[in-house]
């Protein structure tokens, strides 16, 4: 076995999703990555940055289109023995008891019944589930269900543990407890696992747990930055050294791609094209966030981690909103701070009708898709066009599902700005207002 301390090694991994109708769409672009023995690596990125896809490539659940993934020197061609995974949605079989679920992997391996039972009970014990052996998943709370997910993974004595946002479906308190318990098992070497990859969208979680943080960028997914975290454990999330790294990560994640220095100039001068994947931000939340930034205590400028705490939003939701505010020219971000632009301030101070006017102006100025739709509607006789037309255009750049999402966001924004109208029943965009 070629042992250079690397458990998993991915070389130039590309992943293209291809359907019969559309040309291939690149979701992972030449990703190089390795997991070394004894480390926890966290992968952060916005939703849609391909981080979950990348984890599935590493797991052998989906093959890379190009490049190679090796586990202990052997090319991964399917789920490898020695790699286990914990899922965001727990993925427990509802018709099996806790014990049945934990035994599942062993049963598949053909482990004899008695040994199976013994090992499963040990794993259940380890993860703090004893007493619940005969319970069905639907009887358990989210936190307990995810403990079953961990037990099912640990019972096969995995070399590598892949965690796909395992805590993000849990409430904050439960997530914290479970995360702590998992970390203890790892630090006290009570599990034989040699390396962990954690996909997350919670920045503090990543900084608390990981030895190294990989940040994924979107469209197509690629590694944007790598941040080593060499702080001693246990880490206090409120300590300045941890917060400094948290700030650093926020700064990277909230910079609009294409405007940051050093980004491979994929799109040339124009950073946002018609086919840009607009962040699915709701108008209510956008307005709310802009109001919050403009009002005291921030009075126009806010520290992002603080904002997350004071406004009770999740990191992932924040990224979406911040990107939208930047695209619309309402706010700018640098170094983990966000501040309202003059237009943004004017918007925050305006009344309802003026707000709509400003929003419409910004849409036409900064969002090419909005300008495009309006132009088409202006030019066409009858001033209406079927949505299918725009979907087809979007699908040149995006998957079918993404195209629908983007158009839905666009229609929401356009309706608010009264830039155009949309008839759901007929699926037609037009300039008329319903009479």
């Amino acid at each position: 076995m070629p042992d250079d301390g690397r458990l998993i090694c991915a070389e130039k991994v590309c992943k293209t999703y291809q359907t019969a109708e559309t040309p291939g769409r690149l979701v992972l672009d030449h990703v190089d990555f390795s997991l070394h023995e004894g480390e926890i690596v966290a992968i952060l990125g916005k939703s849609g940055s391909g981080k979950s896809t990348f984890l599935r490539v590493l797991a052998g659940l989906t093959p890379p289109t190009e490049g190679r993934v090796a586990y202990r020197g052997h090319t991964v061609e399917g789920p490898a023995h020695g790699i286990a995974m914990v899922f965001q949605t727990f993925a427990l079989f509802p018709w099996l008891t806790v014990l049945g679920n934990v035994e599942l992997g062993l049963e598949a391996q053909g482990v004899p019944r008695a040994e199976r039972r013994q090992r499963a009970l040990k794993a259940i014990d380890l993860i703090g589930l004893d007493g619940f052996e005969s319970a069905y998943p639907k009887e358990l709370s989210g936190g307990m269900r995810q403990r079953v997910g961990f037990a099912r993974a640990l019972v096969v004595n995995p070399d590598v543990l892949l965690l796909d946002e395992p805590f993000s479906a849990l409430d904050v308190l439960t997530a914290e407890t479970l995360r702590g318990d998992m970390l203890d098992l790892w630090l006290e070497r009570r599990v034989p696992t040699k390396g962990i990859i954690l996909v997350s969208h919670n920045i503090e979680e990543a900084v608390e747990v990981a030895d190294r943080i990989i940040i994924f960028g979107s469209d197509p997914g690629h590694i944007r930055a790598e941040i080593p975290v060499s702080l001693p454990r246990p880490r206090d999330v409120t300590s300045p050294r941890v917060q400094q790294i948290v700030d650093e990560v926020y700064a990277i994640l909230t910079t609009v791609p294409g405007r940051e220095p050093g980004r491979r100039g994929l799109r040339g001068v124009e950073t946002v094209g018609v086919g840009y994947r607009l962040p699915a931000a709701s108008i209510q939340q956008l307005v709310g966030l802009l109001d919050a930034i403009s009002a005291p205590p921030y009075s126009g400028r806010a520290d992002l981690p603080h904002l997350v705490e004071s406004e009770h939003i999740e990191d992932e939701a924040l990224f979406v909103l911040v990107e939208a505010l930047q695209l619309l020219g309402f706010a700018q971000v640098a170094g983990g701070d966000i501040w309202a632009t003059p237009v943004g301030r004017a918007f925050a101070e305006a009344d309802l009708q003026t707000r709509k006017q400003i929003f419409a102006d910004q849409l036409r100025r900064s969002i090419p898709l909005a300008a495009h739709i309006r132009k088409v509607l202006d030019e066409r006789p009858g001033h209406s066009a079927p949505e299918a037309r725009f979907l087809a255009e979007l699908e040149d750049h995006l998957s079918e599902e993404e195209a629908h999402e983007v158009l839905e966001t666009m229609i929401n924004w356009g309706r608010y700005a009264e830039l155009f109208a949309y008839d759901y029943d007929r699926g037609v965009l037009s300039l008329e207002n319903p009479t």
Binding site: G78, F93, G100, L104, A108, K138, D425
Partner: protein, 595 residues
């Protein structure tokens, strides 16, 4: 070792739940309890009866002999048993067929392309048409034995159940949540293991519901398929269907009454012993969390779970399952990537092309073959005539559905707004839907004869007699599902009666209504074959329609005309479904769903 240590208590140790009802831990398991007092005679009795009845199925028989059927009600239990056995065999065959067919369609993209449209068409072929076509083949298969006729009857029942169950399974198979699939692969379940541990359990609740619906429909065809006419010769297989056929021949209204009574008991037994327990048991396979309307465990399930005898039987089944999966593992050495067969990209495109070519060629050949056959045997003129007959039947179906809707929608809403009443009414409606309406046909015929009613009009209600209940059932369910908030809003705003119907109730129950109406219309098409020609002794009432055409051709053994009639009926059903129901369905899905 641990087993001994852990098996002290009663409730714990409910493990290894793959297929079973909960096992109760070992030591207490050895002691029989009072449930065994019920279980043991039940089991032994059914074994003996089944053995006897299945021996009768293979009795020697030659066409032309008359099988002695007696109208003495004392024979009814025996006939009932024979009928039930046919039903059970058909159900088992349907289950096996649908598992294999659905699995194949869901696993292979290429097979899917052929299998699913074929299923769609099979679904619209009138079930009694299958009987007419296949009976000669089955007789040839078992010369000189009753087995051929039995098989034909069972096959007819099978065709009334299998398609529906297969669709349900296929839908479930392709709907297995992605995360569960990934977990199964991640933990190295072989395809065989994940079929039995993931896909089948996931499909179980829906499958059992569909089985129940299928069996409801099946009773109708059991009755219709026991008395078979082959080339003008009547064969009456011992069973309730033959009993009633004889009662009709001999104009014995009392015997009709006995048959109805016997059927009632049979359906009750099926419901209590099979479906109530199955439905309750299948709750565990539901992926969602426990809902409010948890089904109360029925007495028979409790018996199954408590009686030790069944634990013993379960152990045997378990052992067989273990052995099977061990064999499967041996037979198919684990492949590295547990996926669909993969070709290279270019290879796959070629294979697709070839496969599409084969499909197109097959379709073209079939069309030419049918055209040639029809032209040589019946002629174009008759085809047009049959198309017209189809229109007559179509008119009947449309009018009936509209009438049924006008009657049952208000009643269903009225019941649905009273949840306590609805809960009591729903099982009764389900029961009515299961009850074979053809048992009531003689009563209607007697009435038509007595009052000299117009045959063309008064035979029509028979077509919807059995299937109208689906409309009622679904309307009640749809109204029950309507959140009470909406009604509060409506009364708060002082909405008038008319507006309340138009803006609230009708849109809210629309999806449920469409589901019910689709089922009802499908059933009516099927029933036209037995409803457009009805008899009472020597009096035969014939209505103009394609059902009557097929029925008469069947009686004469006129194969080309049977085929023509069935093709045309099939065409009407397909077009009707495509042009009307599917659109309404989509509309309901898109716009009027409550969530």
């Amino acid at each position: 070792m641990w087993r001994a240590a852990r098996s002290g208590g009663g409730a714990e140790g409910t493990m290894q739940q793959r297929w079973g009802l909960p096992i109760v831990a070992w030591p207490s398991r050895l002691r029989p309890n009072y449930w065994d007092g019920v279980a043991l005679p039940l089991v032994l009795g059914s074994v003996v009866l089944l053995a006897w009845a299945s021996r009768q199925m293979g009795a020697p028989y030659r066409l032309g002999e008359t099988l002695a059927i007696s109208l003495d009600p004392r024979y009814l239990p025996e006939y009932g048993l024979r009928t039930v056995l046919r039903m059970a065999l058909a159900l088992a065959a349907s289950l096996a067929f649908s598992l294999a067919y659905a699995a194949f369609a869901a696993k292979s993209r290429r097979a899917e392309k052929l299998l699913i449209p074929v299923l769609d068409i099979l679904q619209s072929v009138p079930i009694l048409g299958f009987l007419s076509i296949t009976v000669t083949g089955f007789i040839a298969l078992f010369p000189g034995s009753l087995m051929g006729y039995e098989c034909a009857a069972i096959f007819a029942i099978f065709t009334s159940q299998a398609w529906n169950m297969t669709f349900s399974l296929y839908q479930s198979f392709i709907g297995v949540p992605q995360d569960l699939r990934e977990a199964a692969r991640m933990y190295h379940l072989s395809p065989w293991q994940s079929f039995w541990q993931l896909e089948v359990p996931f499909a179980t609740p829906q499958l059992i519901w569909n089985m129940m619906m299928s069996v409801s429909g099946g009773w109708f065809f059991v009755v219709a398929s026991e008395a078979i006419s082959v080339n003008g010769q009547d064969v009456k297989l011992p069973g309730i269907g033959s009993y009633i056929a004889l009662a009709i021949e001999q104009r014995d209204l009392a015997a009709v009454g006995y048959a109805i009574l016997a059927m009632l008991v049979l359906i009750l037994i099926y419901d209590q012993l099979l479906f109530r327990p199955l439905l309750a048991w299948a709750q565990r396979f539901k992926v969602e969390a426990i809902t409010q309307d948890e089904i109360e465990p029925p007495w028979f399930l409790i018996m199954l779970q408590r009686a030790r005898l069944f634990d013993l039987m379960r152990s045997v089944v378990d052992a067989a399952a273990v052995l099977l999966s061990w064999l499967a593992r041996r037979a198919a050495p684990r492949r590295a990537g547990v996926q669909r067969l993969r070709f290279g990209a270019a290879g796959a495109r070629w294979a697709d092309l070839v496969w599409n070519g084969v499909l197109i060629a097959g379709v073209a050949y079939a069309i030419i073959d049918i055209a040639r056959f029809v032209e040589s045997e019946v002629g174009l003129h008759e085809v047009l005539h049959v198309l017209l007959l189809g229109l007559c039947t179509l008119a009947r179906v449309v009018v009936l559905i509209v009438l049924a809707a006008l009657i049952w929608v208000p009643i269903g809403v009225w019941i649905g707004l009273r949840p306590r009443l609805a809960r009591r009414v729903q099982p009764i409606v389900q029961f009515l839907a299961a009850f074979p309406a053809n048992l009531f046909f003689p009563v209607a015929v007697v009435a038509i004869l007595r009052f000299h009613l117009d045959v063309e009009i008064w035979v029509s209600p028979l077509m919807i007699l059995g299937t109208q209940w689906y409309i009622l059932f679904n309307v009640i369910a749809g109204t029950l599902a309507l959140p009470t908030d909406y009604q509060f809003v409506a009364s708060n705003l002082g909405v008038s009666r008319l507006l309340w119907w138009r803006r609230l109730i009708l849109p809210a129950i629309f999806p449920a209504f469409v589901t019910g109406a689709v089922t009802a219309s499908g059933g009516s098409w099927n029933a036209s074959i037995v409803a457009e020609v009805v008899r009472w002794g020597n009096d035969t009432l014939v209505a103009t329609g394609i059902g009557a055409y097929i029925a008469e051709a069947t009686e004469k053994g006129d194969f080309p005309r049977i085929a023509l009639g069935i093709c045309v009926l099939c065409l009407y059903v397909l077009l009707f479904n495509r042009l009307l129901w599917r659109r309404l369905y989509l509309l309901a899905e898109e716009r009027l769903r409550l969530d």
